[in-house]
Symmetry: none
DNA sequence: TTAAAATGTTACATGATTGTTATATTTAGT
DNA sequence: ACTAAATATAACAATCATGTAACATTTTAA
């Protein structure tokens, strides 16, 4: 089943909200409306794949709200399109500085808006294609099968990568050798415990100072200590 | 980080170049100038998202230069705006025949020019997003099923083309052989992993130096490294 | 039908990954 | 500190994954 894309429209004019909602829903999107930045901030923003923002609103203007969204790490990656009546240079520059992804001038053609929406969503789609797990300056990308430490590309073998992924997925948990075998090795192979130890060590050496984060729990197994 | 859009201005009058440069840079574009078609052709045109061309220049006039840009497969898709003092119909017709995207008459208001620039860029954005995928001097046209490298037409077979398209669509992502099979081969065929390897290699050889961009991730599969 | 092009398979070479063994070191308990 | 058990580590061996050439089969176009 195809997951529906949620879009949040924030505009103080009820009519505009309605028009946007109807048109975007025709395109297959799911649209919620808020009539002020304050109202919008009460919503769970994480649910939305895109936020359409009017510049002029009550207490807080669109740019200020955009800034807020960007500052919060959890929501920092949600694409924002600003709708503006003004089109002065300062507006544009302010917008881009605040991390707005696109802007559109009022009055706009619905057709044009829909194209912008699609384009922005397509772009952000590419980015979400990365599934990244981070610990301090260490990050692993599950899609790209990449490990980066302090910006440096670390070449891990398959076993090394998957053990690290396993540990980072549930930190502090101590994985028994048996469990590591189950989850990192093919189901049919039969290797001895020492093999895991050796691979743990190879991993430790490669991930620099983070090697010490992989801890040995004597008699139990291994885990990642934050 | 937002990538800056590069615009190339070609005009023999130094003053006009300067004015255009200043104004477009205020809009957030990156502007380079050339004072003749000859000078412009020495530049790496692919870097530019738009070329602003004066009709009247030294040896080669604007239309001739536009023709050249269009003939070269690599640059054929760069939008061109012609600035003209004359405004006879024949000029217009000639311009559009040669693939010019828009024209503007001198003397023009800076404000108007900026609007044209934005409009053309917006249009081209739409097109390039849908049909053509580019990486440096390699481009593939999804509609025409064509692959062009350094202006040279590269004959790729269907499998080769589709693998390349798959990889370029989500760069850096490592595709497992299973996924490649799913997305490039018909659903009912049953081919062995070695088949993919062999086809990967045929593709690598055909796409010249870009062959090394197709990377092998041992134990996982293949991907396109930028 | 025939020839050429595309795609698939096989077999072997090569290098990288992984496994094992042997020995050193660490740890926990006394 | 001493001992036994557990783990670390180095060196080597075995295996595995991939590259590649040559050939086989299928598809396409004339």
């Amino acid at each position: 089943m195809e997951k529906r894309v949620n879009i949040l429209v924030v505009d103080d004019e009820e009519t505009i909200c309605e028009v946007l909602k109807i048109n975007l829903e025709l395109e297959g999107y799911n649209v919620d409306c808020a009539h002020s930045a304050e109202e919008a901030s009460k919503l769970q923003l994480l649910n939305y794949s895109l936020i359409l923002l009017d510049v002029m609103m009550g207490e807080m203007n669109g740019f200020e709200f955009a800034s807020l969204i960007r500052k919060e790490p959890l929501t920092a990656n949600i694409p924002i399109i600003i709708c503006t009546a003004k089109d002065s240079d300062t507006d544009l520059i302010e917008g881009f500085n605040r991390g707005v992804d696109d802007y559109i001038k009022k009055p706009f053609l619905m057709r044009e808006l829909v194209l912008r929406v699609k384009s922005v969503l397509r772009r952000s789609d590419k980015n979400t294609n990365s599934d990244i797990i981070t610990y301090k300056t260490l990050q692993i990308d599950i899609i790209k099968k990449k490990c980066i430490i302090d910006g440096e590309d670390i070449q891990l073998t398959k076993k090394e990568f998957e053990m690290l992924q396993l540990f980072l997925g549930t930190r502090e948990k101590i994985f028994s050798r048996e469990e590591i075998l189950d989850r990192v090795w093919e189901s049919d192979v039969l290797v001895i415990d020492r093999t895991i130890d050796v691979n743990i060590n190879r991993l430790r050496k490669k991930i620099k100072n983070y090697g010490t984060n992989i801890i040995t729990k004597l008699g139990y197994g291994y885990g990642f200590k934050e």
